[in-house]
Amino acid sequence: MDPLILSRWQFAITTIYHFFLVPLTLGLSILVAIFESRYVATRDETYKAMAKFWGKVFLINFAAGVVTGIVQEFHFGMNWSGYARFMGDIFGAPLALDSLLGFYLESVFLGLWIFGWEKLSRGLHLAAIWLVAIGALISAFWILTANSFMQNPVGYAIENGRAVMTDFWALASNPNLPYQFLHVLSAGISTAGFIVLGFSAWHLWKKKEAALALFQKSFKWAAIYALIGVVSVGLIGDAHGKFLARHQPMKISATEAIWETESPADLVLFAGIDEENQENGFQISLPKMLSFMLYNNFKGEVKGLTSLQAEAEVQYGPGDYIPPVTITFWAFRIMVGVGLLMVLLALLAVLKPKIKFLNKNRLLLWLLIPAMAMPYLASTSGWILTEEARQPWIVYGLQKVQDAVSPNLTTGDVLFSLVLFTVLLGTLIAITGWLMYKAGTAEPKSDQAAE
């Protein structure tokens, strides 16, 4: 195995690990800030207890998120020095902005928040958690600015074989960016909603705590929060798809397994994909639906992968420009399928107090506990989709992954680090999950309980 393949595995695995943690950080920091805001506004101690209780879950997740993020930053120089040289002029800037504008804010004020309950006034302490949430948002914004460039390059020129920035504002107002940013943010909101729902459901199901009020309130808030999150994630995702149909047609055609140009195009629900012969062995499809989803009418043409391949060869020279279709096709279907289930569950959770059957029946509570896994499944699939469907490019149309890898790495080097990271970070994620389970199912401490 050569260092390129191993480096790709390493980056994929560590990114997925990192992205296991990031959405919850984004969503839960905001939710904890909302709870504390309610406490400051109403002086209702239950909200303070909620901020503290969910704050614990948040902190465990945050710590693991930070350290897996360091791995990501170092990777660009360690394994992808070809990329760093070619793209550094553009890519380094958002990364530095991420640290300078986002990460400092997040880290410094998180320290103040954790240690400042007694030392800061209520208002300042509340400001600290909001600044943590804002820092996390700023961080996500700049990282996705960098990623959006890789999907849809803007504001650059090629000089002496390197990409150089010509327009910073174009970079920061990349038309791909609002979709990606809001999609990730609402995924974060959904994740936090489902985690708080799940643990609250666990407590309500057990029914033996002194602090039932805390979890009833948490359940209500989290249900609405989760519903807002999953509905937005779907709407934004749909709009993003329409955008990509114009800007990254290869991505759409791979995701939908459209091999030959169709006008109008059918929506393939399920298919047996044969990448070798570039066809679907069997497929179940809805007539004209794909055209409708992409263009809001039943007429539009969707180019097939084979003709996009031919176009790409004319533009970029010989090569294989079709991304791995099977992975992207199924990643998309898992993401959407799980997402739709989440909409249903969040809706039921919101309606629970209003509908007698739901309120009396404990089935919903029971369902919401395993449902905590769903946002993770969906966002991991989403991340795999967006990165796989860009292949063979690392920067769409500008640099291929094979040209980005560091030339001086040996197989032994990367094999060592790949195994080490996979095992160590895997263990770390498992411990994080276990600690979150312990924190989420613990009885609130007496000073946290709503008395």
Binding site: L59, G77, A96, K119
Partner: protein
């Protein structure tokens, strides 16, 4: 002043901030299992850096990202050259980072001991490896014409570099001990002072040996124009002063002069390198300099504006957190967060 030089200075400032702030964090982490006799003591030691260590670590992350943004070739060459060393450093930082958070989450003795040693290793290894890295920067390494280094890890672990690693460890232990004298509960502070007294002797011997070796084996202190000689002398003087201040019990001043030693030593490194950033031992033409390794003028301009606005803001709010948590950590377990 051209923007390339501005960014060379900004990167130097970020690394100075990193070594100054993480210096005592690493020192505290290394001393924790030895100065803390029992769990409550270890907790109070961790709590002394609890509110600030994460913000301190962002200095390293920002220094790295700023290097990437301003001198992408340096980032590419350095990080791929030190691949295995950096893998170990990242692993260490991971263990340390989650250690602070995870340790307090369960009460079991073996659980806590596990994270004690994770924090210790996670503080020792990065300190040592940064020392090794900096020493290799001073002496240069075999960078080829294509800006890449193909030599692997072993040549980077030469005796000079290993001594550099030890110097970093010793200086950070001294720095961390000085910090604990000020911040830890009285009993631990007394023990920390003893460590500072002996640690100072070790740090001084190692540092003097390293500076002499640097004088003989590199041009860092002797090259014409800007060089590292004056900052090296100032680093030595402040280090001597630190020893004296520890001895007479002026612990606040000792912390400041110890910090200045680290600051001057970092300035020595960057002043001695300028205008080179990574020295090639194969040919002076293959060294990476502020001219041939930098980003475009436009990118540097954008980043200069951003840094000029936000770096002072960051420093201000971070300084404020130190003010909020200026008091000595108490001994009562109920007061401890971690």
């Amino acid at each position: 002043m051209d923007l390339n030089t501005v960014w060379f200075i900004l990167v130097a400032i970020l690394f100075t901030g990193f070594f100054f702030l993480e210096g005592f964090d690493y020192g505290v982490g290394m001393l924790m299992p030895f100065l803390g006799k029992e769990d409550v003591e270890r907790r109070s030691i961790i709590n002394s850096i609890g509110p600030v260590w994460d913000g301190n670590e962002v200095w390293m992350i920002t220094a790295g990202a700023a290097l990437f943004a301003s001198f992408p070739h340096v980032y590419a060459t350095l990080f791929s050259a030190f691949y295995l060393a950096l893998i170990l450093m990242v692993v260490a930082l991971i263990l340390r980072g989650v250690g602070f958070e995870f340790r307090s989450k369960r009460a079991g003795k073996s659980w806590r001991t596990l994270w004690d040693w994770a924090i210790f290793t996670g503080s020792l290894l990065p300190a040592f490896l940064w020392g090794v890295t900096v020493a290799n920067l001073l002496r240069g390494f075999a960078i080829q014409q294509d800006m890449n280094y193909y030599g692997g890890l072993i040549p980077l672990l030469n005796p000079y570099a290993l001594l550099g690693g030890l110097v970093f460890v010793a200086l950070f232990i001294l720095h961390g001990a000085n910090f604990l004298v000020l911040k830890a509960p009285e009993g631990i502070a007394l023990r920390a002072r003893k460590v500072a007294l002996t640690g100072w002797i070790v740090a001084t011997v190692l540092t003097v040996a390293f500076v002499v070796w640097t004088f003989l084996a590199t041009d860092i202190l002797t090259k014409s124009g800007l060089n590292g000689l004056i900052p090296a002398v100032l680093a030595a003087l402040t280090l001597l002063l630190t020893g004296w201040l520890v001895r007479i019990g002026r612990s606040g001043w000792a912390f400041i002069t110890g910090a200045l030693t680290i600051v001057f030593a970092t300035i020595m490194v960057f002043a001695g390198l300028y205008p080179r950033i990574l020295i090639s031992t194969l040919s002076p033409d293959w060294s990476l300099t502020i001219a041939n390794a930098s980003s475009s003028h436009y990118t540097l301009k954008v980043m200069t504006i951003v840094a000029a606005i936000f770096l002072p803001i960051v420093m201000a709010y971070q300084a404020w957190t130190y003010w909020v948590f200026r008091k000595r950590v108490g001994t009562g377990p109920e007061k401890l967060v971690y």
